[in-house]
Homo-oligomer: 268 residues x 2
């Protein structure tokens, strides 16, 4: 039996928003050459087929409402694989360091002396903006973009998300995982001063065949979120950039926006 | 002479932070098949070699301090190429819809009836975070990420960037194009309540051979920005996530951080 005495290596790799073509070239190369792939529910399943024969595929899928493997177990698994000499690719949906607890995996690897590298990816906010063809920044309209989460850590009650403050920034707000708390977020943003008719776009399952682009306003976004496919990742874009070109007055809620129709024309 | 009567198509394609391997698979496929590539100073030059023989390569490079081609001319060029039946890839550094004026190009194409699609990319903030191995969000430390620009539109004096408000968010701040105004930004963030010893990382030329990762504090960041390679894109990360693991007390300014050393171990 060969003894693997060499310490392995871990890459935390962004798996992008859902379309396998939205992984980077580097992500694909690393997947093709890894000894072990540690993936979860937000990595596109198609990319697992890129693994070399004999590579270990380890599903640590965790999603709200389903069985959750504790983060500490995932951290320990990565360390164990690296100590066994494996070249490990840890696939994380979107970008590894945006709302993915990638920092906790990095810290565990550093504490164990395991060398690692992070390969950035396409995060959900920019994928949703691309799908809806809305700029996240626009001269004279939005000078900044805030990426926020609707999923507050329940075990960290001291860290309340500051929606009322976010309402005052004149920034585009991109809300990850906001479905279940959409009504509360909407109310708090309005309490912070954003008008109920502030344009909103909800993008479900961006960059997949199930993609939905649903227009709303701050006042209607909770109802529209209810209508989106319940199991798909949802990204909510709030701000003036979400207004359709030439649009004025009240907008119909929940009907696909006109600008999204252009996607059907793609010859790709 | 063949008459091109078919309307073309324009893809706005994210070219990522600098490393050609950080383009997406879709970006590469589109570059390989395009009739025309419209690129600028922030697209990695290596990717132009992927173009098919006979493809038109059009440099509309504009960078602060060098000759700038007006945005209106770029918009008109894209429309003209599409009307001539070309399949056009418009390469934009990072992601097309984050601080890239991609919205203006989309609006011009829509107004001209040109079909288009946006292919999202790896934006500088996540590339810098990956390079420095710092999470942009961290449970109990930072619930949100603000992407802001240090380059205010000079022709839009009414839209002042709200640094004092940004200082109050308990969010990680990622500042694009902040080199020239680093002293002013630092002063305004401190006026907004962020302590002078708030950890800062400056990442110059992320994801290139010239990459520099420079630790600083809010108080020293302007001086450290002066020391970074002047022609490289600079991304400034401000917030508790930028503190090295286990670090306490004052930090040395301008020396590469220890965590970056792990990159040298990469077997890739």
């Amino acid at each position: 039996m060969t003894r693997l005495s060499k310490l392995g290596f871990v890459w935390l790799v962004g798996a992008g928003p859902g379309d396998p073509e939205l992984l980077t070239l580097k992500a694909r190369r690393l997947i093709e050459t890894a000894d072990a792939l540690v993936h979860d529910a937000l990595s596109p399943v198609e990319v697992l087929a890129w693994a070399r024969p004999g590579a270990e595929l380890l599903d640590v899928g965790k999603r709200c409402g389903r069985a959750c493997r504790p983060q500490s177990e995932i951290n320990a698994l990565l360390v164990r694989l690296a100590r066994a000499g494996r070249r490990v690719v840890r696939l994380k949906g979107g970008d590894p360091l945006v709302f993915g607890r990638g920092g906790e995996e990095l810290a565990a690897l550093a504490a164990a002396g395991v060398p690692c590298e992070v390969v950035p990816g396409v995060t959900a906010a920019v994928a949703a903006a691309a799908a809806a063809q809305v700029p996240l920044t626009e001269r004279g309209l939005s000078q900044a973009v805030l990426l926020a989460t609707g999923h507050e850590a329940p075990d960290l009650p001291g860290r309340v998300t500051r929606w009322a403050d976010y309402a005052k920034l004149d920034a585009t707000l991109c809300i990850y995982m906001g479905r279940r708390r959409a009504a509360k977020i909407s109310a708090e943003l309005q309490a912070g001063g954003l008008p109920a008719d502030t344009p909103v776009l909800l993008v479900a399952a961006a960059a997949t065949a199930e993609q939905q682009i649903l227009p709303a306003t701050l006042g209607t976004m909770a109802a529209v979120a209810e209508a989106a496919a319940p199991s798909a990742p949802l990204l909510i874009i709030v701000g003036e950039v979400a207004r359709s070109p030439g649009e004025a007055g009240p907008r119909p809620a929940g009907k696909p926006v006109a600008r999204a129709a252009a996607l059907a024309l793609s010859p790709a």
